[in-house]
Chain length 269, copies 2
Amino acid sequence: MPMAAIDDKTLDELLDFADGLASAARMVITTHFRRDLAVDHKASDMPRGQPVTEADRAVEKAIRGMIEAHYPDHGVVGEELGSVNSDSEWQWVIDPIDGTRAFIAGMPLFGTLIGLTHLGVPLLGVIDQPVLGERFIGSARGATFNGHQMRTRACASLDDAVFATTDPAMFAAPAARAAYETLRRRANVTQFGGNCISYAMLAAGAIDIVVEADLKPWDVTALVPVVEAAGGVITGWDGGPAHQASEVIACGDRALYDEVQPLLAGAVA
Amino acid sequence: MPMAAIDDKTLDELLDFADGLASAARMVITTHFRRDLAVDHKASDMPRGQPVTEADRAVEKAIRGMIEAHYPDHGVVGEELGSVNSDSEWQWVIDPIDGTRAFIAGMPLFGTLIGLTHLGVPLLGVIDQPVLGERFIGSARGATFNGHQMRTRACASLDDAVFATTDPAMFAAPAARAAYETLRRRANVTQFGGNCISYAMLAAGAIDIVVEADLKPWDVTALVPVVEAAGGVITGWDGGPAHQASEVIACGDRALYDEVQPLLAGAVA
């Protein structure tokens, strides 16, 4: 998908601003991560899931506050707190903590996702892992990993591929299950549990293919510019725009995509 | 399982030494992790799996060299390079990189496992995550996370539990599969892909139950003193010693163990 045409100065400003949003999110998240481990252990006294809900909301509030202050006319779509300015040509699509289960389990395979669409097209994306201090950014300016250029790697065949998917239970329908079993059986290595970090590692050249289902716009929008600017391909299983799909395939190498996408096209729910 | 009786000075020396082994391993691993991402991207030019095999061997060689120099009569059992001094009452049981797939995928959910048994009983264990700089140690001295005391948390029921297991494909046999499906359905949260880090997070009070199968002695021995010294329970599915089992259950709370272990006892391969 081509990036929407935006002048250089505007894009630079938006990238700087998105970087600032990710830094703000990082400060909030690191105060909540593994908080239960400190001093005493009263997890069982708290309502189930309370810590992460609190962290999710605190991060999303911080991000929304900054957007409202800097770009009061822009739209925001967030997982926790709904939508504002839905008619704006600019839409920030936010997942404060993608990978809630990993966050709860104390594993740094979650991230803050910040996407921006212009006239419906993903313009920039940020994947931020606050514990590792790792930030992945994609736009027409290119793709970076902590400021260094990153590229997907060559891997033309599923037989050689490192395959990542967060949870095999995503593949509930029989056709989806069959496609998953094929991927699992043929891929060289399969890694579970990665959430958005799977896509970041694909963009950085450590993973070759990610296939998932049951995703929401805030799970996907930020990933699109990161993967595409790094040289990868990301679409729905049907080949359509990923940020409008709930079933997504991402590949580092177009040849691998061309091999696997037809397999998934027949499994679309 | 009771720890074997060892005098304080001997245990302190062995703990210091094991800590040094983990530090040596960390230096080697951090030079290999995500090495393919640097500068150029020639992963596809290399024999499949080469980087991790090289890292595994380099780490195990470093550890073995140190053991041979300090304790030439001690036994060593390692994943990569076999066994020496099998008749010694002291046996170091080493997995240089537990979680090879996570290592390859660029995700810090792998670790170096260093266990020591005395007369067949696990005496001390170290789980070291080199990228995060996180070290979990257990012995009769207690359990520590980067030098701070750690404890498992209370969680008496599976319905409230955070459940971790690396890969559902571990549960291949029908009875094991059925037990897994029950765990998955009833647990509050399920997280995949964690390898040894799941047990470390159980010991630290973020995860309540880990159930896995298809494990080897070097996957398990180091975990036992870490989990037990933190207040948890770890056994085979049949209730026997975990370090002699390939099917393992670990719980932070004995009440949870007492609920779930009988379910698994009927699924032993």
